[in-house]
């Protein structure tokens, strides 16, 4: 099929088997390597992206189901004001260790703040519950999201 998507604001067309995982199309065909494969079964959230504004696991999505959709990865988010605010907040709060889960966390943070610009600790924890981190114990990631919400007030 010819897959038409808006990727990080740009129109893209490519030929693909509709059954291929969106994760593979993003990583292999489009070189969006911020999207990581941690488990391949929707458990870890390292492959999180925004699909029409909603967080999803790109490892579980066949290409054929996303035609004409809008997709945002960390490559796109990092170029936005919101993305920059979250990245700075994460860096400042020590939210990053090995970093493999972090682009997915960035997506999860953006998704949460787009729904709820002033989340509580519990709401942050719930929103991040599909993004596993083995390094930080999560506390500093929670702090990063809170700081981003504060510093970026009005952006979301």
């Amino acid at each position: 099929m010819t897959l038409n998507i808006t990727l990080n604001g740009k129109q893209i067309s490519l030929k693909t088997d509709p059954l291929r995982r969106l994760l593979d199309i993003l990583r292999v065909d489009l070189k969006m390597t911020s999207v990581k494969e941690g488990c391949g079964e929707g458990e870890c959230g390292a492959c999180s992206i925004l699909l029409d504004g909603e967080i999803v696991n790109s490892c579980m999505i066949p290409a054929g189901t996303v035609n004409n959709s809008s997709i945002v990865t960390s490559e796109g988010l990092r170029e936005t004001e919101r993305g920059r605010v979250i990245i700075e907040a994460f860096a400042g709060e020590g939210a990053v260790q090995c970093g493999f889960c972090t682009p997915g966390m960035l997506i999860a943070a953006e998704w949460l703040l787009s729904k709820n610009p002033d989340p509580s600790d519990v709401e942050i924890r719930e929103a991040l519950s599909g993004n596993l981190c083995r390094c930080t114990g999560y506390d500093m990631i929670i702090d990063g999201v809170k700081t981003a919400a504060k510093r970026g007030a009005g952006l979301w």
Partner: protein
């Protein structure tokens, strides 16, 4: 602040947090992990692994290979067909026999993944099955051991003979999988007559050493380069050699690049795990309820090959009496050979098992005697000058009393531990622990012999050349911070790239809580030399070699003396609520106080605490791996579960400063310490909440139910 070391000349400020140098590039997704690279022309590699736990390989039937596809096996090994670790008992490719499910028999490589899979499905192996050994009970019966260690302190026989009572426990702990978020990933290529290995790893020189032995080639024929490493926790200390050696053999044969990235299921199923343990502890008590002696018998399952089992066992044995000065002790430690998947390095390296056992046993002993656990334990705290279980001594000030006062004030432990005895459903637990920093005994001097370089560039920049890696723990920030502080130049002028054995000296593995304390100290000393010689124009190199401080003595043969030069110390308190219908536990609050010398960066250290305690809580509560006939039942991240952001509350962490003279700015190791006590604290919180006695980790709701129904 204590000033008995002379090392804290600048330590008043070193710990103030700076922004991690790798944070933004990782968050925004700029950082490239191995599988993010586009390696043009690289073949895809996949292992063919044993389906049998123990068998003779009678015949291997290989399919016709299409052009461009390769199968590599034992016949292709030019040097030694072994993974060279401590021993060389593990073959690179199975050599006529297989000894565990998942043992590597062949490596298939080809340009298309589908083609590789097709070949994989067409390979047939004829096995002659042999009777396997799956339990330590059977292995002990057969006497099939990797090691059998004995330690004796004082006169335990007399203590037991004169005891008025003997209190006994059998404590078991389970396997644990690392679940570094980035699966094992390597890339091997052939370049200008060299085998070059890139990958996610802790110890580039370990990989290099094993590859050199297997290829039977000169040292300069092999180069190993670390790539951004997405978590490791010990899991990338041994396994990159285990898959890197056959990969290098393949690259050497076919002279083409091969990418090898494990699928998560393959990673969980076959990589080395934390050793499960069974520890029997007996305590001799006199008429005044004093502990007069202990007998500790440790058994761990090493799996089919030795890997690091003997060193893990040594650390378990040396940690067996925890933070306590027990006058008379007998310790025996045995590591069994079985036909299970080999166990290996994992944060803590045998100490968490031993510390869980001693903490739980001390708690049970207090309970039997009718004393408050913390009050009882405090009576036996090690002090400066105390004799250790290896008849060495504690050289440093032990601040456990002070740390207990801090954590007690914050958590209300003493009060709550009394109060909750009569409050159903509420509990509080505590653990005390220490972790010996660096390699055992004089291993740094006799085995590692670390060397570091500092290169002064013409433009005023300084490059750190060491073989230690950033894997999340913060070396990319802390090493430059140490050097920049000494040289009094901005951190931006310090270069620290991912190690490449083509350029960096061997400063040893990134393991054993040694990087900051040992390698960081060498960097500090090198920087001091550089500062003396500093000249804006000149380009020069400073080299620093490890020298073992003379006051620490060790005899590896007899295992007597100072097993570790210094220790990190910790206390964790967990408060918990119990659901009587589902046997579920909710940890409501967690506190931790640690002493790891002086913090190089308080935020990074705090990140180690929060992550380490969480990983320890996972081991203690959720992370269950069960073996059935040599195969793990949990092989996906849906079934092998690690904590999410919802499982545990914020970890309230604090530090106590206690500078160590042979650590940079007084810093000691912390990476493993922070893991060591969480499991025991969780266990004791569950005991308190349900008013029961528990003797096994992980403490799952199922396990709690079984105890409740007894």
């Amino acid at each position: 602040m204590l000033n008995n070391t002379g090392a804290e000349f600048m330590s008043d400020k070193i710990g103030s947090p700076v922004e991690r140098t790798d944070a933004a590039e990782k968050t925004g997704g700029w950082a490239k992990y191995l599988d993010d690279y586009d390696f043009p022309g690289a073949l895809h590699g996949k292992f063919y692994r044993s389906q049998k736990a123990r068998a003779e390989i009678k015949k291997i039937n290989l399919p016709e290979l299409p052009d461009g596809y390769h199968i590599i096996g034992r016949g292709d090994v030019p040097g030694l067909n072994a993974v060279s670790m401590i021993k060389q008992d593990m073959p690179a490719f199975a050599d006529g026999h297989v000894n565990h499910i998942g043992e590597i028999i062949l490596l298939i490589a080809g340009p298309e993944k589908s083609g590789v899979l097709k070949i994989h499905s067409e390979i047939e192996i004829e096995y002659k099955e042999l009777p396997p050994v799956f339990t330590t009970v059977e292995a002990l019966k057969k006497g099939d051991l990797f090691a059998d260690y004995h330690l004796k302190k004082g006169d335990p026989d007399t203590a037991f003979k004169n005891a008025v009572r003997i209190i006994e426990d059998r404590i078991t702990t389970g396997h644990q999988e690392h679940i570094y978020m980035e699966p094992q990933s390597l890339y091997g290529s052939w370049k200008d007559g060299q085998v070059v290995m890139h990958g996610s790893m802790q110890c580039p020189y370990y990989v290099k050493h094993s590859v050199v032995e297997a290829l039977g080639c000169d040292e300069d024929m092999v180069r190993v380069v670390q790539t951004t490493t997405g978590g490791a926790f010990g899991g990338k200390e041994d396994y990159p050699e285990i898959i890197g050696t056959p990969l290098a053999i393949a690259v050497n044969k076919i002279k083409k690049p091969v990418r090898l990235v494990l699928d998560r299921i393959e990673d969980i199923s076959f990589t080395c795990k934390r050793h499960p343990s069974e520890i029997v502890l007996k305590t001799a008590v006199d008429e005044e309820n004093n502990i007069t002696g202990m007998d500790i018998d440790i058994v761990i399952d090493g799996g089919a090959y030795e890997t690091y089992s003997c060193i893990v066992l040594q650390r378990a044995v040396f940690s067996s009496t925890g933070v306590y000065d027990i006058p008379n002790v007998n310790v025996r430690g045995r590591a069994c050979r079985t036909n299970n998947v080999p166990n290996g390095a994992f944060r803590g390296f045998g100490a968490p098992q031993a510390l869980t056992a001693i903490e739980t046993h001390m708690g049970h002993t207090a309970e039997e005697i009718g004393e408050n656990p913390a009050e009882f334990k405090k009576k036996y705290f090690l002090k400066k000058g105390s004799a250790t279980v290896t008849n060495g001594k504690i050289h440093e000030d032990v601040l456990l009393e002070k740390m207990f006062n801090i954590i007690d004030k914050k958590s209300g432990y003493a009060e709550k531990s009394r109060q909750y005895r009569t409050v159903p459903g509420k509990g509080i637990g505590i653990s005390f622990y220490n972790h010996g920093c660096g390699f055992t005994g004089d291993g740094e001097q006799t085995i590692i012999k670390a060397v570091v370089y500092l290169d002064k560039k013409k433009n005023g920049n300084v490059e750190i050349l060491v073989s230690n890696v950033e894997m999340g723990q913060g070396l990319r920030t802390n090493f430059p911070k140490i050097v920049s502080r000494i040289l009094e130049i901005p951190m931006e002028n310090i270069i620290f790239k991912d190690p490449d054995t083509g350029f960096v000296p061997n400063s040893g593995p990134t393991a054993a809580s040694r990087s900051i304390m040992v390698v960081g100290f060498l960097l500090q000393e090198a920087a001091k030399k550089m500062k003396k010689r500093w000249n804006d124009e000149e380009e020069f190199r400073v080299e620093q070699h490890y020298r073992h401080p003379e006051e620490f003595t060790w005899n590896q043969e007899t295992m007597q003396g100072d097993a570790y030069p210094a220790y990190g110390w910790g206390i964790t308190v967990v408060e918990a609520e119990a659901d009587p219908d589902t046997y579920e536990i909710t940890a409501s609050r967690i506190w931790a106080v640690h002493e790891a010398g002086t913090a190089i960066d308080e935020k990074i250290l705090n990140g180690q605490v929060q992550g380490g305690v969480m990983q320890g809580l996972g081991w203690g509560s959720l992370e269950k791996l069960q073996l059935k006939e040599g195969r793990f039942l949990q092989t996906t991240m849906a079934d092998y579960i690690i904590p999410t952001a919802m499982d545990f509350p914020r970890i309230n962490s604090e530090f106590v400063d206690n500078p160590y003279p042979y650590g940079p700015f007084g810093a000691k190791g912390a990476g493993e310490l922070v893991f060591d006590g969480a499991g025991a604290a969780y266990l004791s919180a569950v005991e308190s909440a349900f008013n029961i006695k528990i003797s096994a980790l992980p403490v799952t709701p199922e396990a709690i139910m079984e105890v409740m129904l007894k």
